[in-house]
């Protein structure tokens, strides 16, 4: 154990350490934790590997993301299982091994950041460097503050800096300790997009030099695509999908993943006609004024079987007159029920037997003079209809 502890401090900038490979150590976890909540118990049971680089932990709130991080950091003790970074074991229930939080070398940036309010930014950053000399601490702190472009705030109290600056300070305070693993619990959630993008760039830059496993919790799809080399999707304490962001987000098999992946429209559907020669099928979606038919890609499903169809709001076209000569196979008449502007996107709810959410640009709204009550046609490509596991199975 003791020799392993040295590794984290020894592995500094060009992080291939004693493994010799550029890959760096892998975080491996396989554990179970039962939590007694308010009258309801929650079980987190996971098995994962996180190589050097960003691994995104994605899931709804309450899925167990923070508990997972707490277990890796040692703030929560799992009931059983094992957690290791490379050959260094952090926790092993079978051996009765539970390394103290302070000895794990696991960097953790909390959602609330938890900067020490009674210290300056510099004192915060130097906090984790108690083992160094005064001069050594000052040097390291100055370097990391420069990397995160907050050197001018060194003498400011942690209480009086802005949100984005606090985020940078919290990251700097953790990264300056050269952790063997980095846990980030939505550290950028409260930031505006440009600030977030800049911090993500700095973080990527830092990680190019250090190559350690980073578990990054987020709700945001943009962050998943911007950062993720790998994604782990958690739902109700279990890992329901793992893979590259592209694999997971474009072909979700489970509805939880689908909702997370941003399918604003999810409908129960029944297979009505199968066209194996064309590679398509026709599905019926129950609507208020009779079924709505949708042509979808062919999947292995029997006639009459129950499926779910997911359609992204951004994949639907909207026309003010019946469009002609289109390759898209689904053209559905409807009426605008409501229009709502969110940032630079207009979200239209269109009633076409079922209610569909459609995302448009501001320019499109103005050019088409869209308003509630206007008659429109929705255009949906066959391959924009993503089929998922049937609703009958998932409800049983």
């Amino acid at each position: 154990m003791v020799e392993g502890i040295e590794e984290a401090t020894a592995t500094t900038s060009h992080g291939d350490g004693r493994n010799g490979a550029v890959a760096g150590p892998v975080l491996e976890g396989r554990f179970r934790k039962r939590m007694a909540g308010q009258g309801q118990e929650f079980v987190l049971e996971v098995e994962f590997r996180a190589a050097a680089g960003f691994t995104i932990l994605f899931g709804a709130s309450g899925a167990g993301k923070t508990t997972l991080l707490d277990c890796v950091a040692g703030l929560v003790r799992p009931d059983s299982g094992r957690i290791a970074v490379g050959e260094r074991v952090l926790f092993d229930a079978a051996q009765g091994l539970d390394l103290a939080v302070a000895k794990r070398h696991v960097g953790y940036v909390f959602q609330s950041l938890a900067l020490f309010p009674h210290m300056t930014v510099e004192q915060n950053v130097e906090y984790g460097l108690a083992h160094l000399s005064r001069a050594g601490r000052g040097e390291r702190a100055a370097a990391i503050l420069r990397t995160f472009r907050i050197e001018h705030l060194a003498r400011h109290s942690a209480r009086e800096i802005s949100g984005g600056e606090s985020q940078r300070a919290a990251l700097a305070r953790t990264l300056v300790t050269d952790p063997a693993v980095l846990l980030l619990d939505e550290p950028l959630a409260a930031l505006d997009a440009p600030t977030k993008a800049k911090i993500i760039d700095d973080l990527r830059e830092w990680n190019r030099a250090h190559r350690i496993p980073i578990l990054y919790v987020t709700h945001s799809r943009e962050e998943v695509f911007a950062l993720g080399e790998r994604v782990i999707v958690l739902d109700a304490g279990r890992i329901v999908a793992q893979g590259t962001p592209h694999e997971i987000m474009t072909a979700p098999r489970q509805e939880t993943v689908a909702q997370l992946a941003g399918f604003e429209n999810i409908f129960d559907a029944t297979v009505e006609v199968v066209h194996p020669e064309r590679g398509t099928m026709v599905c019926w979606v129950a609507g208020s004024t009779g079924p709505v038919t949708l042509e979808t890609p062919l999947v292995r499903a029997e006639l009459g079987s129950a499926l779910r169809v997911g359609i992204r709001a951004g994949d639907i076209l909207l026309a003010t007159s019946l469009p002609q000569g289109l390759s898209a196979r689904n053209v559905i008449a409807g009426r605008i029920a409501s229009l709502e502007q969110r940032d630079v996107v207009v979200s239209a709810r269109v009633n076409c037997g079922v209610e569909m959410e459609v995302h448009l640009t501001l320019a499109a709204r103005d050019a088409l003079q869209l308003a509630p009550g206007k008659e429109v046609w929705l255009v949906i490509k066959t391959h924009s209809c993503h089929l998922m596991q049937g609703w009958k199975d998932s409800r049983s």
Partner: protein
């Protein structure tokens, strides 16, 4: 009409020693109360709070028994020093510490419990031992509670009567405190002397508390002062 300055001096000494001792003893007790997950913790909390509700004579009586030559503690003390704890300044200090314990521990524990747990967790993930986390994070953020606890135990000791009478008796220069002096004067129908002494004690305590509460704008504050 004369004021017994010796009694004042003794009372002041007692209050300073007791509040200093309570800072040392009260911190670990308060830390344990604030952070322990032990299921029977409430019993300890109740014991610590007992002096608030018990008549000082009850506390004083048990102390007298416990410190007397028939108890193991009393015998050990006699073997160590050659005299009993009862009716000495040391005995008075021990009694006063117990008597004022809740006035120190409760504000301390409330401040500790008010420190954001995430800050303590962050300290640990940055490699700090629990002791370092306590001195660098918990304690600095609990300063208002520490001041309140120290001020309350100081003032409470200044004005204590029953425990002193039971444990200390009335030995001038050893255990005769201001409150006992006032009581004596009233018994002897020296109302002018009692009045002067009482007024002086009142002004002194008011000045002290005013100073502390004024410096510590949120005297009952828990958690970090903004």
């Amino acid at each position: 009409m004369t004021i017994d300055w010796q009694a004042f001096w003794l009372t002041l000494q007692l209050a300073v020693v007791v509040s200093a001792a309570l800072l040392v003893i009260g911190l670990p007790v308060a830390y344990w109360i604030a952070f322990s997950g032990w299921r029977w913790k409430f019993l300890v909390e109740a014991v610590v709070a007992l002096p608030i509700v018990l008549p000082p004579t009850v506390l004083g009586f048990y102390l007298l028994v416990a410190l007397g030559p028939r108890s193991p503690v009393g015998r050990w003390w006699i073997a160590l020093t050659g005299h009993t704890l009862a009716f000495t300044f040391s005995g008075l200090v021990i009694g006063s510490i117990l008597y004022s314990l809740p006035f120190a521990v409760q504000p301390f524990a409330a401040s500790f419990a008010g420190v954001d747990r995430k800050l303590i967790a962050a300290s640990a993930t940055l490699g700090a031992s629990p002791l370092r986390s306590f001195f660098r994070v918990v304690l600095p953020l609990s300063v208002p509670g520490l001041i309140t606890g120290a001020a309350l135990s100081f003032a409470h000791t200044m004005g204590e009567f029953g425990v002193v009478l039971m444990v200390g008796g009335n030995i001038p220069g050893v255990t005769r405190t201001v409150s006992i002096d006032i009581y004596d004067r009233v018994q002897a129908s020296d109302y002018a002397g009692a009045n002067a002494t009482a007024l002086l004690l009142l002004v002194l305590c008011f000045a002290l508390l005013g100073l502390v509460y004024g410096l510590n704008r949120r005297p009952w504050a828990v958690g970090p002062a903004k």
